[in-house]
């Protein structure tokens, strides 16, 4: 019975989705994928519950170079701060062998994050933003690349240096002209996807950014496609600015990361 109900919902959703081309039905103006990706229907199924409200929304800004020569290190910035009540942001790439890239919960920080990723081929890079009402708002951009970024070993895995410095954090805090502060941090970690022969997946799983009183600012859940020695950019609103901050977390092998972020 449950299955039947689920199928009915799916059927209804399919009907809505594929009805958009008909001029005769101006109601339910569900927009087609603005990035026109043949993988979108799969992404919709894989990333969100069938019952979830999912809309394309220009207020979700994903910035990345249209052409990325170095598929091992593609810069991406996500900014959803134009949306009210952001609960979580899930970043994914339709055509990556490992689709999920990073998930973050901006509990006190701006709903924005800068980071770098590995891509295997040209793909849409999307951010899905869940707001307080449960709706997922999706924005994104295409990145063209010759690819190969996911199946190559990290340069770190071939050098002994990272083993001595694994988890080492360097960071800095800036006052922003528009008020508030910016934190940038870099973590020494080889980050292997597990897709290069003989090298197991090794990646940052959890990072928590808090002020020096322990009040949370952002939780970051990393996946395999984050680039080696990751650099994150986080903006803190003036109301949450503190005299110092702290980052803590761990990778999928249980190695701890813990560092004070001082001005």
């Amino acid at each position: 019975m449950k299955n039947k109900a689920l199928m009915a919902v799916v059927a209804l959703w399919l009907a809505c989705t594929f009805n958009t081309g008909h001029a005769a039905s101006p109601a339910a103006p569900l927009r087609a994928d603005p990035l026109d990706s043949p993988r979108w229907a799969d992404m919709r199924k894989e990333m969100f519950p069938a019952s979830a409200q999912v809309v394309f929304d220009d207020r979700v800004k994903v910035t990345a170079p249209l052409t990325a020569e170095n598929a091992m290190n593609v810069p991406v910035s996500v900014d959803a701060s134009a949306l009210p009540g952001v609960r979580e942001v899930l970043v994914f790439a339709d055509f990556n062998p490992i689709v999920r890239i990073v998930r973050f919960e901006p509990s006190g920080a701006h709903a924005a994050l800068g980071f770098r990723i590995k891509l295997q081929q040209s793909t849409p890079v999307r951010a899905a933003v869940r707001t307080a009402d449960g709706t997922w708002h999706v924005g994104g951009t295409w990145v063209n690349t010759a690819g190969g970024g996911c199946t190559l070993p990290s340069t770190g895995s071939g050098s002994p240096e990272w083993q001595k410095r694994l988890g080492e954090v360097s960071s800095r805090v800036w006052a922003r002209k528009e008020g508030g502060e910016r934190i940038r941090l870099r973590i020494i970690h080889p980050i292997d996807t597990g897709l290069a022969a003989g090298i197991p997946a090794f990646f940052l799983q959890d990072l928590d950014l808090a002020d020096n009183q322990g009040k949370p600012l952002m939780h970051i859940e990393g996946f395999e496609p984050i680039a080696e020695n990751p650099v994150f950019t986080v903006d803190i609103p003036a109301a949450r600015a503190a005299t110092a901050y702290r980052v803590s977390g761990r990778d999928n092998n249980g190695n701890a990361i813990s560092a004070a972020i001082e001005k």
Partner: protein
């Protein structure tokens, strides 16, 4: 799955027609696609340059974005850089043969970038020479550089394999059939950049230390060393300057232009890192008006930010900056 023989059988005539058509088409494509149209330009006594396009590598230009050159001496021809593919190397050799019947006795690779050495296959192995670090880099990176060229230039690369020179060069004078050459070993564009000054004609072959009208490339660059190398070139007397990319010049303008770009890039990236900019924000910054006219400036700026910004970031984030 089995197919019935009937569905697969075509009449003999049809098969012959298809075969003839396919063969003709293949020959046509092969003949039409792979001609670089190389035409040597005489720039001084005994000295010719083949000027490439001021573009990115593409399926259309087949990698011919580079300047190669040759000097016809009494003791044979000295070739400076062999081009981006086997086909280019072979066509360069034929272009030389149209001008002189002297054999090629020396092929110099100015550095290890693919458009400067992937034509090596066309020349006798014992004529190939380069600085030791260049030879080492061709050995270690030649394979991946070659693969990347297949991706960028496609069909033009057919049959190309990396060949590392066996003969290491040392800086200093080199007398070649009446031409007093000076080999100058510098670095900065790559780990080893060979510059050749022909004291007999006053021609300075600067390799990729100097770009003219085209934005410099930086995949292996050390901006400080590169600027120091250009300071040295600016003091070198010459009458004709052959840059690695872009038209031949009669003055030091291209040296100053390359230096101005590198100095700006260095300052710009340092400032951006000190201001705490994310890489996507650096990519979005406007370029100064003085560089807007350089060929492929947007693409090279984007590549340079990707290649160089992480090191500037690292410096800005590290404790080093706190020290006086």
């Amino acid at each position: 799955m089995t197919a019935s023989p009937r569905t697969l059988s075509l009449s003999r005539t049809a098969r012959s027609l298809i075969a003839v058509f396919a063969l003709g088409w293949t020959l046509l494509l092969a003949a039409a696609d792979r001609d670089y149209g190389l035409s040597p330009l005489r720039i001084a006594d005994d000295t010719w340059v083949l000027v490439g396009r001021s573009e990115d590598f593409s399926l259309t230009n087949g990698g011919n974005i580079v300047n190669t050159a040759f000097i016809v001496t009494a003791k044979g021809v000295v070739v400076i850089d062999s081009g981006p593919s086997r086909a280019y190397g072979e066509q360069l050799k034929r272009a030389i043969a149209r001008i002189t019947d002297k054999p090629v006795s020396l092929v110099l690779n100015t550095h290890h970038h693919p458009d400067h050495f992937l034509g090596n296959q066309a020349f006798a192995p014992d004529t190939l020479a380069a600085l030791p670090a260049t030879i080492k880099s061709i050995h270690s990176e030649g394979g991946s550089l070659n693969e990347n060229m297949y991706r960028l230039a496609g069909d033009w690369m057919a049959g190309t394999e990396p060949v590392a020179p066996a003969r290491p060069l040392a800086a200093g004078p080199l007398e070649m059939g009446g031409h007093r050459l000076e080999l100058i070993a510098l670095d900065g564009h790559t780990e080893a950049d060979l510059v050749i000054l022909d004291r007999s004609t006053g021609v300075l072959f600067a390799g990729d230390l100097v770009f003219n009208g085209r934005t410099p490339t930086t995949p292996h660059a050390d901006l400080q060393h590169w600027q120091a190398a250009l300071d040295q070139l600016e003091k070198t007397p010459f009458t004709t300057l052959v840059p690695g990319h872009g038209p031949v010049a009669r003055d030091a303008g291209p040296i100053r232009q390359t230096k101005a770009w590198l100095a700006w890039l260095d300052r710009h990236l340092r400032q951006a890192a000190d201001d705490g900019l994310d890489m996507t924000e650096v990519l979005a910054l406007p370029l100064p008006a003085e560089f807007r006219g350089l060929a492929v400036v947007d693409a090279e700026y984007r590549r340079s930010v990707g290649q160089l910004y992480p090191a500037y970031e690292q410096r800005a984030l590290s404790d080093e900056r706190r020290k006086p």
